[in-house]
Protein backbone atom coordinates (compact mmCIF):
# COMPACT_ATOMS: atom_id res chain seq x y z
CA UNK A 1 0.00 0.00 0.00
CA UNK A 2 2.83 2.33 0.96
CA UNK A 3 4.52 1.76 -2.41
CA UNK A 4 1.32 2.63 -4.24
CA UNK A 5 1.12 5.93 -2.37
CA UNK A 6 4.79 6.67 -3.07
CA UNK A 7 4.25 5.76 -6.74
CA UNK A 8 1.26 8.09 -7.00
CA UNK A 9 3.19 10.92 -5.35
CA UNK A 10 6.13 10.45 -7.75
CA UNK A 11 3.79 10.33 -10.73
CA UNK A 12 1.95 13.50 -9.68
CA UNK A 13 5.27 15.29 -9.02
CA UNK A 14 6.45 14.27 -12.49
CA UNK A 15 3.24 15.55 -14.04
CA UNK A 16 3.58 18.84 -12.17
CA UNK A 17 7.18 19.13 -13.36
CA UNK A 18 6.12 18.41 -16.94
CA UNK A 19 3.47 21.12 -16.71
CA UNK A 20 5.81 23.71 -15.25
CA UNK A 21 8.69 22.87 -17.54
CA UNK A 22 6.50 22.32 -20.57
CA UNK A 23 8.63 24.15 -23.12
CA UNK A 24 11.29 22.00 -24.78
CA UNK A 25 14.99 22.71 -24.38
CA UNK A 26 16.48 24.78 -27.15
CA UNK A 27 15.39 27.94 -28.94
CA UNK A 28 11.72 27.76 -27.89
CA UNK A 29 12.58 27.83 -24.22
CA UNK A 30 15.47 30.23 -24.70
CA UNK A 31 13.32 32.83 -26.45
CA UNK A 32 10.70 32.50 -23.72
CA UNK A 33 13.36 33.19 -21.10
CA UNK A 34 14.66 36.10 -23.20
CA UNK A 35 11.17 37.65 -23.27
CA UNK A 36 10.88 37.21 -19.50
CA UNK A 37 14.14 39.09 -19.06
CA UNK A 38 12.81 41.84 -21.32
CA UNK A 39 9.65 41.95 -19.15
CA UNK A 40 11.72 42.42 -16.01
CA UNK A 41 13.59 45.35 -17.55
CA UNK A 42 10.30 46.80 -18.80
CA UNK A 43 8.95 46.70 -15.25
CA UNK A 44 12.01 48.57 -14.02
CA UNK A 45 11.31 51.26 -16.62
CA UNK A 46 7.60 51.34 -15.75
CA UNK A 47 8.34 51.71 -12.03
CA UNK A 48 10.82 54.50 -12.78
CA UNK A 49 8.26 56.36 -14.88
CA UNK A 50 5.72 56.03 -12.05
CA UNK A 51 8.00 57.43 -9.39
CA UNK A 52 9.69 59.99 -11.64
CA UNK A 53 13.12 58.72 -10.58
CA UNK A 54 14.41 58.03 -14.06
CA UNK A 55 17.99 56.88 -13.41
CA UNK A 56 17.25 53.16 -13.97
CA UNK A 57 15.61 53.79 -17.36
CA UNK A 58 18.81 54.06 -19.45
CA UNK A 59 20.48 50.85 -18.21
CA UNK A 60 17.21 48.89 -18.41
CA UNK A 61 16.51 50.09 -21.96
CA UNK A 62 20.10 49.19 -22.93
CA UNK A 63 19.48 45.63 -21.70
CA UNK A 64 16.27 45.46 -23.75
CA UNK A 65 18.19 46.58 -26.84
CA UNK A 66 20.78 43.90 -26.20
CA UNK A 67 18.15 41.19 -25.71
CA UNK A 68 16.32 42.32 -28.86
CA UNK A 69 19.54 41.93 -30.85
CA UNK A 70 19.69 38.26 -29.83
CA UNK A 71 16.04 37.38 -30.45
CA UNK A 72 15.75 36.55 -34.16
CA UNK A 73 18.04 33.48 -34.18
CA UNK A 74 15.80 31.99 -31.47
CA UNK A 75 12.95 31.78 -33.98
CA UNK A 76 14.22 29.15 -36.44
CA UNK A 77 11.64 28.33 -39.07
CA UNK A 78 8.85 26.07 -37.87
CA UNK A 79 9.90 26.13 -34.21
CA UNK A 80 6.36 25.72 -32.91
CA UNK A 81 5.14 23.74 -29.93
CA UNK A 82 1.69 23.21 -28.37
CA UNK A 83 2.80 25.21 -25.34
CA UNK A 84 4.45 27.97 -27.33
CA UNK A 85 2.57 31.17 -28.07
CA UNK A 86 4.50 31.83 -31.27
CA UNK A 87 2.08 32.09 -34.22
CA UNK A 88 2.93 30.42 -37.54
CA UNK A 89 2.52 33.90 -39.05
CA UNK A 90 6.03 34.66 -37.75
CA UNK A 91 7.51 32.54 -40.52
CA UNK A 92 4.81 33.30 -43.07
CA UNK A 93 5.51 37.03 -42.66
CA UNK A 94 9.14 36.87 -41.61
CA UNK A 95 10.21 40.26 -43.08
CA UNK A 96 7.49 41.99 -41.02
CA UNK A 97 8.52 40.14 -37.88
CA UNK A 98 12.16 40.94 -38.52
CA UNK A 99 11.27 44.60 -39.04
CA UNK A 100 9.35 44.81 -35.75
CA UNK A 101 12.17 43.15 -33.82
CA UNK A 102 14.62 45.62 -35.40
CA UNK A 103 12.27 48.44 -34.45
CA UNK A 104 12.25 47.26 -30.83
CA UNK A 105 16.02 47.45 -30.79
CA UNK A 106 15.96 50.94 -32.34
CA UNK A 107 13.26 52.14 -29.92
CA UNK A 108 15.18 50.76 -26.94
CA UNK A 109 18.32 52.58 -28.09
CA UNK A 110 16.31 55.77 -28.56
CA UNK A 111 15.08 55.37 -24.97
CA UNK A 112 18.68 55.03 -23.78
CA UNK A 113 19.58 58.18 -25.72
CA UNK A 114 16.62 60.08 -24.27
CA UNK A 115 17.61 59.01 -20.76
CA UNK A 116 21.22 60.03 -21.25
CA UNK A 117 20.59 63.20 -23.19
CA UNK A 118 17.69 64.68 -21.26
CA UNK A 119 15.11 63.86 -23.94
CA UNK A 120 11.48 62.86 -23.46
CA UNK A 121 12.08 59.56 -21.71
CA UNK A 122 8.40 58.81 -21.20
CA UNK A 123 7.53 59.30 -24.87
CA UNK A 124 10.49 57.18 -25.98
CA UNK A 125 9.62 54.37 -23.55
CA UNK A 126 5.96 54.42 -24.54
CA UNK A 127 6.93 54.13 -28.20
CA UNK A 128 9.06 51.12 -27.33
CA UNK A 129 6.21 49.50 -25.36
CA UNK A 130 3.82 50.21 -28.22
CA UNK A 131 6.19 48.28 -30.44
CA UNK A 132 5.98 45.27 -28.07
CA UNK A 133 2.18 45.39 -28.34
CA UNK A 134 2.16 45.60 -32.14
CA UNK A 135 4.34 42.54 -32.37
CA UNK A 136 2.36 40.57 -29.77
CA UNK A 137 -0.96 41.40 -31.41
CA UNK A 138 0.25 40.11 -34.77
CA UNK A 139 2.54 37.28 -33.90
CA UNK A 140 1.60 35.88 -30.49
CA UNK A 141 -1.25 33.58 -29.52
CA UNK A 142 -3.34 34.27 -26.41
CA UNK A 143 -2.38 32.14 -23.42
CA UNK A 144 -5.33 29.89 -24.24
CA UNK A 145 -8.10 30.04 -26.79
Amino acid sequence: MGWIVVGLLVASAALAHERKEGLPEGPIRERHELMERVGKQAKIIGDALKTGKLEPVGPAAAKIAEEASKALPLFPEGSTHPRSRAKPEIWQQWPEFEKLMGQLQADAKATVAAAQGGGDVRAAANKMFGNCKSCHDRFRLPEKE
Binding site: A42, R83, S84, R85, F129, D137, R140, P142, E143
Partner: protein, 298 residues
Amino acid sequence: MVARTWLLLQAAVVVAALGVRESNAMERGDAERGRTLFALAGGCGCHTAKDGPVGAGGGEVPTPFGKFYGTNITPDVETGIGTWSDEEIIAAIRDGVARGKGVESPAMPYYWYSGMTDADVRDLVAYLRTLPAVRKENRPHEGELPFARLAYRLWRTLFAPRFDRVRERPTDPIARGRYWVDHVSLCADCHTPRNFVGAIRFDLYLAGSLQGPGGDKVPNITPHETGIASWDEDDLVQLLRTGFTPEFDNVQGWMAEVVEGKGGGPGYRDAPEEELRAIARYLRTVKPIAHKIESERE
Protein backbone atom coordinates in the same frame (compact mmCIF):
# COMPACT_ATOMS: atom_id res chain seq x y z
CA MET B 1 -65.59 81.12 -4.80
CA VAL B 2 -65.95 79.69 -8.28
CA ALA B 3 -63.03 81.82 -9.47
CA ARG B 4 -60.85 80.62 -6.59
CA THR B 5 -61.71 76.98 -7.32
CA TRP B 6 -60.92 77.54 -10.97
CA LEU B 7 -57.55 79.08 -10.08
CA LEU B 8 -56.70 76.21 -7.75
CA LEU B 9 -57.64 73.73 -10.46
CA GLN B 10 -55.39 75.50 -12.97
CA ALA B 11 -52.52 75.54 -10.47
CA ALA B 12 -53.00 71.82 -9.82
CA VAL B 13 -52.88 71.10 -13.56
CA VAL B 14 -49.65 73.11 -13.94
CA VAL B 15 -48.04 71.36 -10.96
CA ALA B 16 -49.11 67.96 -12.26
CA ALA B 17 -47.74 68.76 -15.72
CA LEU B 18 -44.41 69.86 -14.25
CA GLY B 19 -44.33 66.69 -12.17
CA VAL B 20 -44.90 64.51 -15.22
CA ARG B 21 -42.15 66.34 -17.10
CA GLU B 22 -39.76 65.86 -14.24
CA SER B 23 -40.58 62.20 -13.82
CA ASN B 24 -40.15 61.60 -17.57
CA ALA B 25 -36.78 63.29 -17.46
CA MET B 26 -35.75 61.07 -14.56
CA GLU B 27 -36.96 58.00 -16.35
CA ARG B 28 -35.41 58.77 -19.70
CA GLY B 29 -31.75 58.62 -18.74
CA ASP B 30 -28.80 60.59 -20.01
CA ALA B 31 -27.04 59.22 -23.09
CA GLU B 32 -23.75 60.97 -22.32
CA ARG B 33 -23.55 59.36 -18.89
CA GLY B 34 -24.71 56.15 -20.54
CA ARG B 35 -21.70 56.19 -22.84
CA THR B 36 -19.47 56.21 -19.77
CA LEU B 37 -21.39 53.24 -18.38
CA PHE B 38 -21.05 51.47 -21.73
CA ALA B 39 -17.29 52.05 -21.54
CA LEU B 40 -17.19 50.81 -17.94
CA ALA B 41 -19.14 47.76 -19.09
CA GLY B 42 -16.23 46.99 -21.42
CA GLY B 43 -18.27 48.09 -24.43
CA CYS B 44 -20.83 45.28 -23.94
CA GLY B 45 -18.53 43.40 -26.31
CA CYS B 46 -20.60 40.22 -26.63
CA HIS B 47 -23.06 42.30 -28.65
CA THR B 48 -20.44 43.36 -31.18
CA ALA B 49 -18.74 41.15 -33.75
CA LYS B 50 -14.97 41.38 -33.98
CA ASP B 51 -15.03 44.10 -36.64
CA GLY B 52 -18.29 45.77 -35.58
CA PRO B 53 -20.57 47.55 -36.05
CA VAL B 54 -20.98 48.43 -32.39
CA GLY B 55 -23.94 46.68 -30.79
CA ALA B 56 -25.10 44.97 -33.98
CA GLY B 57 -24.66 41.52 -32.48
CA GLY B 58 -22.55 38.57 -33.51
CA GLY B 59 -19.92 38.53 -30.76
CA GLU B 60 -19.05 34.90 -30.14
CA VAL B 61 -19.46 33.43 -26.66
CA PRO B 62 -18.32 29.80 -26.66
CA THR B 63 -19.42 27.99 -23.49
CA PRO B 64 -19.50 24.34 -22.39
CA PHE B 65 -23.25 24.56 -23.13
CA GLY B 66 -22.99 25.67 -26.74
CA LYS B 67 -21.78 28.67 -28.69
CA PHE B 68 -23.83 31.81 -28.17
CA TYR B 69 -23.88 34.94 -30.27
CA GLY B 70 -24.60 38.33 -28.77
CA THR B 71 -27.83 39.87 -30.06
CA ASN B 72 -28.36 43.09 -31.98
CA ILE B 73 -28.89 45.88 -29.45
CA THR B 74 -28.90 48.76 -31.92
CA PRO B 75 -32.16 50.70 -32.40
CA ASP B 76 -33.00 48.92 -35.66
CA VAL B 77 -36.76 48.37 -35.59
CA GLU B 78 -36.72 45.00 -37.31
CA THR B 79 -33.63 43.20 -36.08
CA GLY B 80 -32.58 45.26 -33.06
CA ILE B 81 -34.31 46.79 -30.06
CA GLY B 82 -35.81 49.79 -31.83
CA THR B 83 -39.38 48.93 -30.87
CA TRP B 84 -38.59 47.84 -27.32
CA SER B 85 -39.67 50.11 -24.49
CA ASP B 86 -37.12 51.26 -21.92
CA GLU B 87 -38.71 48.90 -19.42
CA GLU B 88 -38.34 45.96 -21.80
CA ILE B 89 -34.66 46.71 -22.40
CA ILE B 90 -34.08 47.11 -18.67
CA ALA B 91 -35.81 43.77 -18.03
CA ALA B 92 -33.45 42.13 -20.51
CA ILE B 93 -30.39 43.69 -18.85
CA ARG B 94 -31.25 43.20 -15.19
CA ASP B 95 -33.83 40.41 -15.06
CA GLY B 96 -32.73 38.25 -17.96
CA VAL B 97 -36.08 38.40 -19.72
CA ALA B 98 -35.94 38.99 -23.47
CA ARG B 99 -39.09 40.45 -24.97
CA GLY B 100 -41.22 37.78 -26.59
CA LYS B 101 -38.75 35.01 -25.84
CA GLY B 102 -38.55 34.45 -22.11
CA VAL B 103 -35.61 33.86 -19.83
CA GLU B 104 -32.20 34.44 -21.39
CA SER B 105 -29.32 32.00 -21.28
CA PRO B 106 -26.80 32.44 -18.44
CA ALA B 107 -24.31 33.55 -21.11
CA MET B 108 -26.00 36.93 -20.66
CA PRO B 109 -24.85 37.90 -17.15
CA TYR B 110 -28.12 39.58 -16.16
CA TYR B 111 -27.73 38.27 -12.61
CA TRP B 112 -24.65 40.47 -12.11
CA TYR B 113 -26.32 43.44 -13.83
CA SER B 114 -29.32 42.97 -11.53
CA GLY B 115 -27.52 45.08 -8.93
CA MET B 116 -27.23 48.09 -11.25
CA THR B 117 -28.97 51.24 -10.02
CA ASP B 118 -32.15 52.47 -11.72
CA ALA B 119 -30.40 55.67 -12.77
CA ASP B 120 -27.41 53.87 -14.30
CA VAL B 121 -29.45 51.33 -16.22
CA ARG B 122 -31.63 54.10 -17.63
CA ASP B 123 -28.56 56.06 -18.71
CA LEU B 124 -27.21 52.94 -20.38
CA VAL B 125 -30.48 52.43 -22.25
CA ALA B 126 -30.44 56.08 -23.34
CA TYR B 127 -26.97 55.51 -24.81
CA LEU B 128 -28.02 52.32 -26.60
CA ARG B 129 -30.73 54.34 -28.30
CA THR B 130 -28.05 56.63 -29.78
CA LEU B 131 -26.15 53.80 -31.49
CA PRO B 132 -26.53 53.80 -35.27
CA ALA B 133 -29.35 51.40 -36.18
CA VAL B 134 -27.95 48.39 -38.01
CA ARG B 135 -30.14 45.90 -39.80
CA LYS B 136 -28.57 42.57 -38.95
CA GLU B 137 -30.44 39.42 -38.05
CA ASN B 138 -29.50 37.71 -34.82
CA ARG B 139 -27.48 34.57 -35.31
CA PRO B 140 -28.97 31.46 -33.70
CA HIS B 141 -27.01 29.85 -30.91
CA GLU B 142 -25.14 26.67 -31.78
CA GLY B 143 -25.57 23.46 -29.84
CA GLU B 144 -28.38 24.82 -27.73
CA LEU B 145 -30.22 22.36 -25.52
CA PRO B 146 -33.76 21.29 -26.45
CA PHE B 147 -36.35 23.21 -24.44
CA ALA B 148 -33.59 25.73 -23.84
CA ARG B 149 -35.82 28.50 -22.47
CA LEU B 150 -37.19 26.10 -19.90
CA ALA B 151 -33.65 25.08 -18.95
CA TYR B 152 -32.62 28.75 -18.64
CA ARG B 153 -35.60 29.43 -16.39
CA LEU B 154 -34.65 26.46 -14.24
CA TRP B 155 -31.02 27.60 -14.13
CA ARG B 156 -32.10 31.06 -13.05
CA THR B 157 -34.24 29.62 -10.29
CA LEU B 158 -31.63 27.20 -9.00
CA PHE B 159 -28.25 28.78 -9.69
CA ALA B 160 -28.42 32.46 -10.59
CA PRO B 161 -26.95 34.55 -7.76
CA ARG B 162 -29.27 37.11 -6.26
CA PHE B 163 -28.01 40.59 -5.53
CA ASP B 164 -29.76 43.43 -3.79
CA ARG B 165 -30.31 46.25 -6.23
CA VAL B 166 -28.00 49.13 -5.41
CA ARG B 167 -30.18 52.17 -4.79
CA GLU B 168 -27.60 54.85 -5.48
CA ARG B 169 -24.11 54.62 -6.90
CA PRO B 170 -21.80 54.53 -3.83
CA THR B 171 -19.59 57.54 -3.19
CA ASP B 172 -17.02 55.72 -1.04
CA PRO B 173 -14.27 54.74 -3.53
CA ILE B 174 -13.98 51.13 -2.38
CA ALA B 175 -17.73 50.54 -2.31
CA ARG B 176 -17.95 52.24 -5.69
CA GLY B 177 -15.21 49.98 -7.02
CA ARG B 178 -17.11 46.97 -5.80
CA TYR B 179 -20.22 48.25 -7.55
CA TRP B 180 -18.34 48.46 -10.87
CA VAL B 181 -16.61 45.11 -10.39
CA ASP B 182 -19.81 43.24 -9.53
CA HIS B 183 -22.58 45.01 -11.41
CA VAL B 184 -21.25 46.98 -14.38
CA SER B 185 -17.69 46.14 -15.44
CA LEU B 186 -18.28 42.51 -14.45
CA CYS B 187 -14.68 41.70 -13.55
CA ALA B 188 -16.34 39.25 -11.15
CA ASP B 189 -18.13 37.43 -13.97
CA CYS B 190 -15.05 36.51 -16.00
CA HIS B 191 -12.53 36.21 -13.17
CA THR B 192 -14.66 33.94 -10.95
CA PRO B 193 -14.81 30.28 -11.98
CA ARG B 194 -18.02 28.30 -12.38
CA ASN B 195 -18.88 24.72 -11.52
CA PHE B 196 -20.06 22.01 -13.92
CA VAL B 197 -23.58 23.44 -14.13
CA GLY B 198 -22.31 26.96 -14.71
CA ALA B 199 -23.04 28.17 -11.17
CA ILE B 200 -20.64 30.79 -9.83
CA ARG B 201 -18.00 29.60 -7.34
CA PHE B 202 -18.19 32.42 -4.82
CA ASP B 203 -15.61 30.60 -2.69
CA LEU B 204 -13.18 31.54 -5.51
CA TYR B 205 -14.48 35.08 -6.03
CA LEU B 206 -12.14 36.82 -8.51
CA ALA B 207 -9.56 34.02 -8.16
CA GLY B 208 -9.39 33.25 -11.88
CA SER B 209 -10.44 30.42 -14.14
CA LEU B 210 -9.01 28.24 -16.88
CA GLN B 211 -12.41 28.12 -18.54
CA GLY B 212 -13.39 31.74 -18.68
CA PRO B 213 -15.67 33.19 -21.31
CA GLY B 214 -14.50 32.23 -24.74
CA GLY B 215 -12.34 29.49 -23.22
CA ASP B 216 -9.71 32.09 -22.32
CA LYS B 217 -7.44 31.58 -19.36
CA VAL B 218 -8.52 34.21 -16.85
CA PRO B 219 -6.01 35.18 -14.16
CA ASN B 220 -6.48 35.39 -10.41
CA ILE B 221 -7.00 39.08 -9.57
CA THR B 222 -7.16 38.74 -5.79
CA PRO B 223 -4.22 40.23 -3.84
CA HIS B 224 -2.64 36.81 -3.25
CA GLU B 225 0.84 35.89 -4.48
CA THR B 226 -0.81 33.58 -7.04
CA GLY B 227 -2.78 36.64 -8.14
CA ILE B 228 -1.90 40.33 -8.16
CA ALA B 229 -0.28 40.71 -4.72
CA SER B 230 2.70 42.51 -6.27
CA TRP B 231 0.55 44.96 -8.23
CA ASP B 232 -0.22 48.39 -6.85
CA GLU B 233 -3.18 50.60 -7.62
CA ASP B 234 -1.34 52.35 -10.46
CA ASP B 235 -0.48 49.01 -12.07
CA LEU B 236 -4.15 48.07 -12.16
CA VAL B 237 -5.21 51.44 -13.52
CA GLN B 238 -2.52 51.15 -16.19
CA LEU B 239 -3.84 47.74 -17.23
CA LEU B 240 -7.41 48.98 -17.45
CA ARG B 241 -6.32 52.09 -19.30
CA THR B 242 -3.74 50.63 -21.71
CA GLY B 243 -3.88 46.84 -21.53
CA PHE B 244 -0.28 46.73 -20.30
CA THR B 245 0.77 44.66 -17.29
CA PRO B 246 3.51 46.06 -15.00
CA GLU B 247 6.02 44.16 -17.20
CA PHE B 248 4.55 45.95 -20.22
CA ASP B 249 3.25 42.74 -21.60
CA ASN B 250 -0.11 43.44 -23.21
CA VAL B 251 -3.31 41.52 -22.55
CA GLN B 252 -4.88 39.70 -25.46
CA GLY B 253 -8.19 37.99 -26.17
CA TRP B 254 -11.28 39.06 -24.27
CA MET B 255 -9.45 41.30 -21.85
CA ALA B 256 -7.96 43.29 -24.74
CA GLU B 257 -11.46 43.65 -26.18
CA VAL B 258 -12.99 45.03 -22.99
CA VAL B 259 -10.08 47.43 -22.51
CA GLU B 260 -10.09 48.72 -26.09
CA GLY B 261 -13.77 48.29 -26.92
CA LYS B 262 -14.94 46.46 -30.02
CA GLY B 263 -15.80 47.71 -33.47
CA GLY B 264 -14.60 51.22 -32.63
CA GLY B 265 -16.85 51.53 -29.58
CA PRO B 266 -15.67 52.60 -26.13
CA GLY B 267 -14.06 50.25 -23.61
CA TYR B 268 -12.51 50.53 -20.14
CA ARG B 269 -9.78 52.81 -21.51
CA ASP B 270 -12.42 55.43 -22.28
CA ALA B 271 -13.83 55.46 -18.73
CA PRO B 272 -12.91 58.25 -16.29
CA GLU B 273 -9.69 57.52 -14.43
CA GLU B 274 -11.34 58.00 -11.04
CA GLU B 275 -13.71 55.11 -11.78
CA LEU B 276 -10.87 52.84 -12.95
CA ARG B 277 -9.02 53.82 -9.78
CA ALA B 278 -12.06 52.84 -7.70
CA ILE B 279 -11.99 49.41 -9.35
CA ALA B 280 -8.26 49.11 -8.63
CA ARG B 281 -8.72 50.19 -5.03
CA TYR B 282 -11.49 47.68 -4.42
CA LEU B 283 -9.53 44.83 -6.01
CA ARG B 284 -6.68 45.54 -3.60
CA THR B 285 -9.08 44.96 -0.68
CA VAL B 286 -10.78 41.68 -1.64
CA LYS B 287 -9.96 38.47 0.18
CA PRO B 288 -6.66 37.02 -1.12
CA ILE B 289 -7.23 33.51 -2.47
CA ALA B 290 -4.53 30.99 -3.33
CA HIS B 291 -5.49 29.79 -6.81
CA LYS B 292 -2.74 29.40 -9.34
CA ILE B 293 -3.91 29.55 -12.93
CA GLU B 294 -1.44 27.61 -15.03
CA SER B 295 -1.15 28.82 -18.55
CA GLU B 296 -1.51 26.32 -21.36
CA ARG B 297 0.97 28.31 -23.42
CA GLU B 298 4.05 30.30 -22.49
